[in-house]
Amino acid sequence: MMLGILGGRVYDPRNGRDGQVADIWVKDGRVVAADEVDRDRAELVDAAGLVVMPGGVEVHSHLVGAKVNAGRKLRPEDHRGHERARVGDLRSGAGGTVPSTYLSGYLYSEMGYTTIMEAATAPLVARHTHEELEDMPNLDKGVFITMGNNHFIMKAISEGRPDMARDYVAWLLKASRGYAIKIVNPGGVENWKWGTNVRELDDAVIGYEGVTPRRILETLARVNDELGLPHVPHIHGINLGRSTSARTTVETMRTLKGVPAHYCHLQFLSYGEGPQHIHSCEAPSVAEVVNADPSMTVDVGQIVFGQATTMTSDGPLQHMLHQTAGGRWMNDDVESESGGGIVPIVYKRTNPVNATMWRTGLELFLLVEDPWRVFLTTDHPNAGCFTSYPQVIKLLMDRGYRRERFGGIHRRARRGALLPELEREYSLYEIAVITRAGPARALGLDKKGHLGVGADADIAVYSEQEDKEAMFARPRYVFKDGVLVARDGAVVAEVPGRTFYVDAPYDPAIEGEIRAYFENAYTVAYENYAVVTGEVAHTEPVACG
């Protein structure tokens, strides 16, 4: 199968192309040099006047697995009015903030995205995550595995055996067919099983002598480096949502200074103490620390006004949200590993807290100088649905629109705000960085996020419009592995996606230790824990080192 996308203006930051007119040639699902394609036999797409970008790369989204599915089940009211009928061979689906699996795949396709990372799965239920991923077409995928409250790792830290932690992490990533180390409220989720939390980086984790959030972070960052994992440790720090979050975020960043790390949905962790119990926006001071340390990347978790479903592995946070917002609350403590919760929420521009959160996200986007280190996310579905990305892109590219929207938020959130003074507008090139090239580089996905020879032929073609929201909501063409999967913003075909997982070497002696540990730590047999080869149809190992 051969394809040529001809004469488009190509935005391919990794290869230094900033809107230059070029042809993109595709053969067998890969981008190739022009001379490798027989023009007469290739399908040709006239892209003259159109914008050509690599397919979007999602760095952090909660799309599948135990927690997400509990969120779907919890919210029938969220699905009604957001149904998609079956068309031809395509499947039906439903869901506003938490769409069903097929629909999620289609909706990402329809925005020009072709790769996604599921942001948090407890290894004990990873098999569930992979089952859902098999039912989410048109996307390549990876799964982040929660490790920040894992008993075996905390035991290794407590016993002063970092090598044991390293071998275990390598084993665990393979056993769960995971892609990266995820750290969520290190130590806090374990303490929540005792009804409490952690507040400071040096607070004790109950039951683990000498273990603190700081030591968990340091250990896993070191393990990540020693294993040479494709991604860096993906960190959701302590105190998310609290007025102490900016302070402890900065302290966490300083602790890991110079150590490669990714800080996710930073907006939720950039608040200080404000008047009348309304958190202050601390985006400027947090962005300053980000700017000063080139070893870190962040994503924003931009608030989008309207319905959202908060769901994290941060059990005590979700309980706090339940106490604050009232209404329905899910909690799920996962033995030996993790936890989590769900609370539906509505973000209102007329609510001073929500409006401050919205402003904090935008200020982070505009104050972090290097677009290669700040990525577009809404921490779907926590701050808003991923389908809102075009709206966020418009806010970044169009300061007139931004000012207009700023004028509509609660006055207390406007007071003293830096946002209206920020003149910066993202260019198309920078948008291609924060939605494609940057996340792909941070994730170590060599064949994603660019259109150089050898890249996967995941390509989005847009018609340039003044209204950037309209432009990014309806790509003219979207190709996955060279197959046209969406046209004019509507999905037209389904292809199965691959799930990348890390296959890092480890000392096999660790297996005996883990097996012995399982006897007492789990209610599932060691032999039935790992997701094994062949159990999931479309996995692809990624070597490390």
């Binding site: 089940k73 699996t101 004990l124 309980h319 339940h322 007492n520």
Partner: protein
């Protein structure tokens, strides 16, 4: 010459114990270790002899049976797909795909079991945990309207009452157990405290408990048949425990007030978390009824009672629940897998099933199988077919294929049926 298969998971109930050892000679299972009597039955009573498909009671080859089933479904205006709960999730995914493609109503045994639990969860949420947390941490157990002593035979040993864990090294001695039920069940006999609630008064007792937790003064003594002092004592224990866990069953879901009972309990548990850690676990019955909820939810957004008649999923318990569909006479064909509604449904529903063509997947004899227009005697998941099931705490566990009988799986036949109805 026998082979021994270790770490085998049992597909019978929501406990999905995965520590069984099964001894096999040829295609026959000769011994099962560690299984409860229900689990023993699953493996030891399995008849591995070759079976063939049947069309209207006559033996037919599998291809002809698939063609006949496809013809029935193509003819049907309002097909119903029902059951799912003993099938692996791989088959459940195919069943939902079939429903989506032919515009069927699809429902699982949840609707006659823990359906109200799902509705309660949708109304108020659900603070829960995995079974290992109970084993390791729980010092206070409350069994309400459930009787695992009869229904989930290894629950006490593996997960709850007698299980030994990190913080409960002495098992039973480290736990306090309450039972709330309308009669003194086998489970109640094992309890430290048995609160005998008057039939139909669960909601009242739950509301009184909520009030007591908040420091209020409920009226009356006894309350719903339970002496008030005993409720006060329970509340004191709940507020001061290390890790409390409620288990609930059909004593709440299938008695008056149904989902309101369950929502009241879930709310009580949520409110208790202001004082002490507390969780609740529904005692799911069938081996993979939890998986049926999961699969339907990730594909349609809804856990049961889903109609694809309009081309997209709609959820309406009471309308699209199988019993209601059948009693109304609103289905003109039915696909039944991993359940026996012919035996277990109310008479008017079962009577309608007898009046319409049915396509039944069943590895053994059943009333539904006996009346099937097309019968697929497929393999049994966990015995002669591998697959995935979800334990009652939503932990997915792989089932082994311990013997080879050559029977096709539900998943294979459903896949062929999907292809056949497309053409």
């Amino acid at each position: 010459m026998s082979t021994v298969v270790e770490h085998v998971a049992c597909p019978f109930c929501g406990c999905v114990c995965d520590d069984l050892t099964v001894e096999v000679e040829g295609a026959r299972i000769v011994k099962v270790k560690r299984a409860c009597s229900s689990g023993q039955g699953v493996f030891m009573e399995y008849d591995p002899s070759p079976r063939t498909a049947r069309v209207r009671g006559e033996e037919a080859d599998w291809d002809a049976a698939v063609a006949e089933a496809a013809a029935i479904l193509r003819e049907a205006d309002s097909p119903l797909i029902y059951g799912l709960s003993s099938a692996a999730s791989e088959a459940q995914r195919k069943a939902v795909e079939l429903a989506d493609r032919i515009g069927a109503v699809i429902d699982s045994t949840s609707s006659v079991c823990h359906g109200p639990t799902g509705l309660a969860m949708q109304a108020v949420g659900e603070p829960t945990c995995t079974l290992g947390e109970i084993r390791d941490r729980a010092d206070l157990l409350v069994f309400w309207g459930c009787n695992p002593d009869q229904s989930h035979l290894r629950h006490f040993a593996r997960y709850s009452l007698n299980a030994k864990g990190a913080l409960t090294p002495n098992g039973r001695a480290d736990r306090t157990m309450y039972v709330v039920d309308v009669r003194e069940t086998g489970t109640a006999k094992k309890a430290d405290h048995f609160l005998q609630v008057a039939p139909g008064h669960d909601f009242e007792v739950l509301t009184a408990l909520r009030l007591l937790v908040q420091g209020g003064e409920p009226e009356g003594d006894p309350i719903g048949g339970v002496p008030r002092a005993e409720l006060e004592e329970l509340v004191e224990r709940l507020k001061s425990c290390r890790y409390g866990v409620f288990f609930m069953g059909m004593g709440l879901t299938m008695t008056a007030a149904r989902q309101h009972n369950v929502a009241e309990l879930f709310t009580l548990v949520a409110e208790l978390n202001e004082f002490a850690k507390c969780s609740v676990i529904p005692m799911r019955g069938h081996g993979n009824v939890t998986g049926a909820d999961q699969v339907l939810t990730w594909t349609s957004g809804y856990p049961f009672a889903v109609s694809y008649a309009r081309g997209y999923p709609q959820f309406m318990p009471g309308e699209f629940t199988a019993v209601d569909v059948l009693v109304r006479g609103a289905a003109d064909a039915a696909v039944i897998l991993a359940s026996d509604p012919g035996a277990h449904f109310p008479r008017p529903a079962a009577a309608h099933l007898e009046a319409i063509p049915t396509i039944v997947f069943d590895h053994g004899p059943s009333v539904s199988a006996a009346h099937a227009t097309v019968l697929f005697p497929t393999a049994a998941y966990g015995v002669d077919a591998a697959g995935t099931v979800y334990r009652m705490d939503n932990v997915p566990i792989p089932l082994s294929k311990v013997i080879e009988t050559g029977r096709p799986t539900d998943e294979e036949i459903l896949g062929r049926l999907i292809e056949a109805v497309r053409t």
